[in-house]
């Protein structure tokens, strides 16, 4: 199971890639494998404001709907429209083209509360 070293992870299986004051958020490879075939994805609207743990997006597999939570607080500055047209990108490329949204970090200190790759790997038993 791929758990990239350069990301931070939420216990609810989101990852965040931090570049300057911007975070890119998606779901992990483990999460997509648990969800199975994803057939619908709805990234958040631009300008939305989140706090850590807020429901930010919904993805649905053939069997179930799952909420995706924002790992940090901030404002949505980009949404991946490609996953609306091709939800399967969340399965095939969860750390790449399957990203969900970008957020302008309101409080970078929150990143400390997230897990590093080793801690997330331990959580999922990988």
């Amino acid at each position: 199971m791929n758990v990239p070293e350069n990301l931070r992870y939420a216990e609810s299986h989101e990852w965040i890639l931090v570049e300057g004051d911007t975070g890119t958020v998606g779901i992990t490879e483990h999460a997509q494998a648990e969800l199975t075939d994803i057939v619908f994805a709805e990234p958040p609207a631009l300008g939305k404001l989140f706090k850590p743990g807020d429901v930010a997006a919904v993805v649905e597999s053939v069997k179930a709907a799952s909420d995706i939570y924002s790992p940090v607080s901030g404002e949505v500055i980009a949404r991946n429209e490609k996953i609306e047209a091709s939800p399967a990108l969340l399965n095939t490329d969860p750390f790449g083209d399957g990203w969900i949204f970008k957020i302008r970090l309101a409080n970078p200190a929150e990143l400390e509360a997230l897990k590093d790759a080793a801690a997330y790997r331990a959580q999922i038993g990988a």
């Binding site: 199975t36 075939d37 919904v58 053939v62 709907a65």
Partner: protein, 352 residues
């Protein structure tokens, strides 16, 4: 409870879930992949959880005809048909397949969730000169479905698969019938529990992909085959469910007939409709509210993302006046309404 194939499912990577008290695989490789395998090549489902009742004796034809809606007397030995068992109000207790093995020898295959209730209902009404045996625990069953089923049949049994549907063959200690729940050609193979693992292995070796309950549900819903407990219930008659074809009103009597005759005379108030999303929407699931011109008129009894059609599909009981193809409805999904249309059954056709 576990079927005799529980270990085989784990070995094949099955993801197990609870289904009416049974540990069953919901998927192996993935629902979409398994669904398409059945539409394009062949898949095999473990249906060992379903019930097997054996009925015999000189009084058995008349007795079955008094309890079931379809015409048992008219069923030829070596053939099977779909039928319903109703309560006195005409509501559906269960839907089942009746196999006529001989002039006075029948096998009934009933839903897993209904084995105890069906057997109880039948035993308290047992007729003169009728033997009834619930042998559900003694049998396992496999459903092989898909365009390549004929090849698998030939490899398994060294003979051609009957071209007609609903043909019953007794092979060894098992029963094979050309029927299924997917809309594809195929066969269901009922075998003694002890031989289940061996049969499963052979079917996989012959080229069938293991398929779980997830694909079984999307396949049957594309065909608008009802699922008891979801689309069928004691609150709805088979006339409401669109299953009038399997009700023989020419029979002198059967449990529920009077209620159905009365409903026919007074008008069928609601009908089970096939519904297809008319705009991009999240997958439709069961128990989603259905609206017509702003008023809720029902809820979905089944719903899924259709792998073949690439959109949401569902079934729902709607007031009869709106139960016509082309009728626009709205389905509420997490507080938001999405446009959908009543569609002619089945939702999926091989040529489309």
């Amino acid at each position: 409870m576990k079927t005799p194939l529980f270990d085989a499912h784990l070995a094949a990577g099955g993801r197990m879930v609870d289904f009416s008290g049974w540990q069953m695989p919901v998927q192996y490789s993935g629902i979409l992949d398994e669904h398409m395998a059945v539409r394009e090549s062949a898949g095999v489902f473990d249906i060992s959880h379903m019930g097997e009742f054996f009925v015999g004796g000189p009084g058995c034809v008349a007795w079955l005809d008094s309890l079931l809606t379809n015409n048992v007397a008219a069923l030829e030995p070596g053939c099977a048909h779909y039928s319903l068992m109703l309560n006195e109000r005409g509501g559906v207790i269960d839907d089942l397949i009746v196999y006529r093995l001989g002039p006075e020898r029948f096998l009934l295959v009933v839903n897993a969730s209904m084995i105890v209730e069906d057997a109880g209902w039948m035993k308290v009404r047992l007729g003169e000169g009728v033997t009834f045996e619930n042998r559900s625990a003694g049998y396992a069953a496999l459903a092989v479905q898909g365009p390549d089923s004929g090849k698998i049949f030939a490899e398994m049994f060294g003979r051609a698969m009957p071209e007609s549907r609903n043909r019953v063959l007794e092979i060894g200690e098992g029963f094979v019938v050309t029927t299924g729940y997917t809309g594809e050609s195929g066969f269901e193979w009922i075998v003694p529990a002890a031989g289940a693992a061996e049969s499963w292995r052979k079917v996989l070796a012959a080229g069938a992909k293991p398929c779980g309950l997830g694909a079984r549900d999307t396949l049957r819903l594309e065909m608008c085959y009802p699922l008891n407990g979801s689309d069928l219930s004691p609150a709805h008659t088979p006339l409401e469910a669109g299953l009038g074809f399997f009700v023989d009103f020419s029979k002198p009597d059967f449990v529920g007939k009077a209620a159905l005759v009365a409903q026919k005379a007074s008008g069928i108030p609601r009908r089970l409709c096939a519904i297809k999303a008319a705009e991009k929407s999240p997958p439709i699931r069961s128990h989603y509210p259905v609206f017509l011109a702003g008023t809720q008129v029902g809820e979905t009894t089944s719903g899924a993302h259709s792998p073949s059609l690439g959109c949401g599909i569902a079934m729902a009981y709607l007031p009869a006046e709106f139960a016509k193809p082309g009728q626009e409805v709205a389905i509420e999904i997490r507080g938001k309404k999405f446009c959908a249309c009543v569609h002619k059954k089945p939702l999926y056709q091989k040529s489309t």
